[in-house]
Amino acid sequence: MSSFKVFDIAGSGLSAQSVRLNTVASNLANADSVTGDPATVYKARHPVFQAVHAAMRAGHNGQSAAAVRVGGIVESNAQPTVRHDPGNPLADAQGNVYAPNVNVIEEMTDMISASRAYQNDVEVMSTAKDLMLATLKLGE
């Protein structure tokens, strides 16, 4: 039945946004994970969303059911921040440590955006549920 597809769609949105929240949490948690080697420093991660168009044509009577999925998680290519901190036990020969390229402000705005999108999907789901329950009571 077509009405159930709303739950699939909104559910895919929920799972995609929660992946985004997870990456934000990971980035923020590692914002200060310094190392003495620029090659091994933590890099900020961001999910890339994709619309699932293949399912669009599923169902021969034209019920459109697309969804969203996480196409992949990419690491930021921005340079790590170099900090001179000779007292740090992780510092390299020049006394430098390398901090991750996590932009905390960017992560916070990303978190708010993901949270709003998540709330939108929850709202869609709960409205769809109300409508279906009302339809079940049709004729009473």
């Binding site: 009405s3 034209g62 409508l131």
Partner: protein
């Protein structure tokens, strides 16, 4: 004279199906609000409802001019035909044309319309029950 239930229920049953379909389309727009290059879509409601009520939403058939011509089954117009792309007010840099506020408003409107169609149908059934029971 038998009662034609389809005619009795009128446009509301078709409208209800279309509102349910539109719910899915709008939910899809909202789910893809952060997907790069996603283009928001909506149903061309008027033409769909007209086609449904007048029964012209049939799949196209190929004209066979020879006995051995193969028939073709197509579901094209019913499937994606009435799905149209929204004209964006302010497209974002990543090619996404979903405006969450606009979609939310459309979703709320669609919900109210769905409930209205449900109410109409309920009243129709009530009228029918009154006629059947005579009370």
């Amino acid at each position: 004279m038998p009662l034609n239930l389809d005619a009795y229920l009128g446009v509301h049953q078709d409208a209800l199906k279309l509102y349910a379909r539109r719910t899915a389309v709008l939910a899809n727009n909202l789910a893809n609000a952060d997907t790069p290059n996603f283009k928001a879509q909506d149903l061309d409601f008027k033409s769909l409802l007209n086609a449904r009520s007048s029964g012209t939403l049939a799949a196209p058939t190929l004209v066979a001019t020879h006995a051995q011509h193969l028939g073709a089954t197509a579901d094209a117009p019913a499937a994606g035909g009435a799905l149209k792309y929204r004209v964006p007010l302010a497209p974002s840099l990543d090619g996404n044309t979903v405006d969450p506020q606009l979609e939310q408003a459309a979703f709320a409107e669609n919900t109210v319309r769905y409930q209205a169609a449900l109410t109409f149908l309920t009243e129709k059934f009530k009228g029918l029950m009154t006629a059947i029971t005579g009370q």
